[in-house]
Symmetry: C2
Subunit: 332 residues, 2 copies
């Protein structure tokens, strides 16, 4: 996070943009202190006072609630609390990271407020059994599918063949909730004849994102499925340390890397800050500072293209966190 703040402020000052940061503690440490994962009033401030939110990794796997789930996880609190229904996860292969038969440049639009994760904290569990529910509503599916088609119409970047398409990822062959999702997708696709409508079953999507990533432009899917597919996609472009994300609602948006915390390497100058840097750029783009956003993504790309940043097999940068920051700062 330190890296992203430094780069964001430097890029903004070059463009004469003034940026004010507030700090709102949250996550596992806050839970241990207060019994809640977010300080009082933070949600309201996110919605009413800030222009946007840049979130860092905050979990600690060993801090658990009595039901066995993790206590520091903010996804549920923020995503439903702020109604940020669209989780936007671009997957892009930067120059020099690895060989690929085709360019990789797509966006996963993950539904963020319902699906299986609506059960966060409300599933049932006793000694003999446990269950969670995967729930979809017409309103929820309609808004996420419309968002995906708008993304295909407006985004920078394109798939290998240049065709604007939205791929619906579902398991409609087996599950009624997904058949419902797909039927609504088909209705909304019919309103967007300028964008190709495409379908993959969840298992086939997992296969094709590895075998034929150049095919994809925008994918739209349920919450839990999108969670898995976006980590999978990250692995094909150098790892979780490469992928930013935005959680977008009608009123508020917050931005965070796709990866979680990595307490084992925290503070050791080993983490890859690229995801957090690209996340800062997504935030700037969202609040209307498109030039400053491009300044940052351009500098990140240039640093990779020049070979100033290289990755170890485990995804950490050979030059350390600070080395990446310096390489990007000098190219802003």
């Amino acid at each position: 996070m330190g890296s992203a703040r430094e780069v964001l402020l430097a890029a903004a000052s070059m463009d004469g943009l003034s940026v004010e940061f507030g700090d709102e503690p949250g996550g596992a440490a806050t839970y241990l202190e207060t019994g809640e994962p977010l300080v009082a009033g933070a949600l309201e401030r996110f919605r009413d006072e800030y222009d946007a939110v840049l979130k860092g990794p905050v979990g600690l796997p060993e801090v658990r609630k009595p039901d066995g789930t993790e206590a520091g996880v903010l996804g549920g609190v923020l995503r439903s609390g702020l109604d940020t229904y669209a989780n936007v996860r671009p997957v892009r292969l930067l120059p020099g990271v690895r060989d690929s038969a085709s360019p990789i440049d797509y966006v996963i639009v993950r539904e963020n407020t319902e699906g299986l994760y609506l059960s966060r904290g409300s599933g049932v569990r006793n000694e003999r059994a446990a269950s969670d529910q995967l729930l979809m509503t017409r309103d929820g599916v309609e808004r996420i599918v419309r968002f995906a088609f708008e993304t295909a119409r407006t985004r920078n970047g394109a798939p290998g063949d240049g065709v604007r398409r939205v791929t619906c990822v579902d398991k409609s062959n087996v599950l009624r909730s997904f058949a419902f999702f797909r039927d609504i997708f088909d209705e909304i696709a019919a309103e967007h004849p300028d964008v190709e409508a495409d379908h993959r079953y969840t298992d086939a999507a997992a296969h094709d994102l590895v075998a034929d990533p150049g095919h994809f432009d925008v994918l739209v899917t349920e919450n839990f499925v999108g969670d898995m597919l976006s980590d999978l996609g990250a692995a094909t472009v150098g790892g979780l340390g490469m992928c930013p994300s935005g959680n977008i609602g009608e009123r508020t948006a917050y931005f965070e890397p796709v990866h979680g915390s990595a307490p084992a390497i925290a503070g050791q100058d080993r983490a890859n800050p690229t995801s957090q840097l690209l996340t800062a750029a997504m935030l700037l783009d969202h609040v209307g500072a498109a030039d400053t956003a491009r300044r940052i993504t351009g500098a990140v790309e240039a640093a990779y293209a020049a070979g100033a940043v290289r990755l170890n097999p485990n995804g950490t940068p050979t030059c350390g966190t600070k080395g990446v920051t310096a390489a990007v700062l000098s190219r802003l």
Copy 2:
């Protein structure tokens, strides 16, 4: 299927093993004729009369039931009907298929009778909303986890570092059903100190199966998650056409390729029969004909190692279905 039958019979006759085939129609075509996806009495015959079942691909995506799900899908009928609770999916990179930093040789043990797919056909759906339930029972989780540890103890093949391990794949940080799964996993792991117990969240597993496949030995997970991860794994070893699977219960077992039907290329001598050949070998191994099983897998490996079989980028063999069959037959 023709290819597998031919190779199975040839290998068996070399070993003086007599094999009798029965035929039981099933799938989309049977549904269109009879309104049921399986002919009457077949389930009972599978259980009481056959030693094992070799299933071919049977679906037709456009044949759907009124609720929107596919009509020819036999998974639910067979897996719950025969209580084949363990879906065993080996993922192995054969020689010459593609470069990999590490050997890939692991087995996904997918729970096959509960989880999200317990809702097959019983989810609720109306105009405004739809839902399916992910349900786990203590008995169901215990038996699949035990099966996974037994697999780690007894299987041929090993991960890159030679350590016997079972990786529990769950989303216990968010969902109570998965926290339940993980707690039971940990209990049973404690009874198997000779096997390393390992954990990955579902999203991290999707990432690591791409980024670090050499780490894995046996993975155990919920039904829907296992469905996605096994297709993902297949993509890393040359595609769905490379991967066999077994559905194993206390009394009965049936074997099938991981892929579905591909009506667009059926009968054109284009499909890769490798998965169906390896599936036949799994079946033979299961019924106690380990030598004949090894004869087939050995011939398949030799055909790849010699370069007699090569794959197009889309996973079909350059020499056609018949070419693969001939290459394997000549190496039995």
